[in-house]
Amino acid sequence: MPELQFSSLGDFLEMGGYALYVWSAYSIFAVFVAVNLIQPYRARRKFMKQQRARLEREEQR
């Protein structure tokens, strides 16, 4: 069975001296996941808002 490799939280954050590299790489990955999942939702909301405005304009005429 796999075991925990770090004895404390500080130990874990330190990453055996490679904290800067490991955490910056994983931060970039986190941004990648967030951007790719949030962007389509924002695009959809923007589209809906624009089209709603267009419909309202056309109905007023």
Partner: protein, 248 residues
């Protein structure tokens, strides 16, 4: 359409992501040479592998666009490009970060790194070319041609480490034996992360394709109905107003 399937995909992806991250960061033993820095590999390898596969998917779809003029193929191919570009960017960035303590440099113009950088530029070029056209059909054909021309780069990336003398190492041999250099406890989390990144890719691809369908069918009755229904849902909550006000 894909609506009912989406929450399941999101759930499975989230579980895989958490499992892969916990296993890769906390449970996998450190490498005997690279120490804990090697944990970057758990995101580097899945993202670059998928960056290439997403290009291959885009190439198959582009062939379908050119040969059979399938509109859906173009919609998904268009959705592929920005996701592939970000995957390649993450692959390049994490590789560079890993390289600083391991190789002593963040960049070298060896065949593997250079061809991967070209993959990134290809993705950017495909997005730019598409946006240069007003007509959907011309954009579809032009970007499909560029995608198919660029596909020659994929075998170059894959075999670069064999054809040329590169600083980038070839793929490691995986072994089922626990005493080997790469025992299962090291590579299982890599596979879990691979599926997790694939899940994120699929989610983004489906969401982007659905948006593109809405844009292209914006005059269709079912989209108009959807817009009116969306209006009714959002007004009491007043949800979208504040956010979009800030963007404008």
């Amino acid at each position: 359409m894909t609506g009912r399937f989406l929450p399941w995909l999101a759930g499975v992806t989230a579980v895989l992501l958490v499992t892969g991250l916990v296993w890769g960061l906390l449970l996998a033993p450190p490498d005997y040479q690279m120490g804990d820095n090697y944990r970057i590999i758990y995101i580097h390898v899945p993202t670059v592998v998928l960056a290439m596969n997403s290009y291959l998917l885009m190439a198959v779809l582009s062939a379908a666009v050119l040969i059979w003029k399938i509109k859906m193929a173009d919609i998904v191919a268009k959705a592929c490009a920005p996701i592939g570009a970000t995957l390649t960017a993450v692959g390049l960035a994490t590789g560079s970060i890993w390289g600083i303590p391991t190789w002593g440099t963040w960049w070298i113009w060896d065949a593997r790194l250079t061809s991967t950088l070209i993959l990134f530029f290809l993705y950017i070029g495909i997005i730019a070319l598409r946006s240069a056209y007003d007509s959907v059909d011309s954009a579809a054909r032009a970007s499909a041609v560029l995608v198919l021309v660029g596909v020659v780069n994929i075998p170059i990336i894959v075999y670069s480490v064999e054809w040329w003398n590169t600083l980038h190492q070839p793929a490691s041999e995986l072994s089922l034996r626990n005493t080997a250099a790469n025992p299962p406890e090291i590579w299982i989390p890599a596979f879990i992360m691979g599926f997790a990144v694939f899940g994120v890719f699929l989610l983004a691809l489906i969401l982007r394709s659905r948006n593109e369908i809405l844009v292209r069918e914006r005059r269709a009755q079912w989209v108009l109905d959807l817009i009116r229904r969306d209006h009714g849902e959002q007004e009491p909550a007043n949800g979208g107003l504040h956010v979009s006000g800030g963007k404008a």
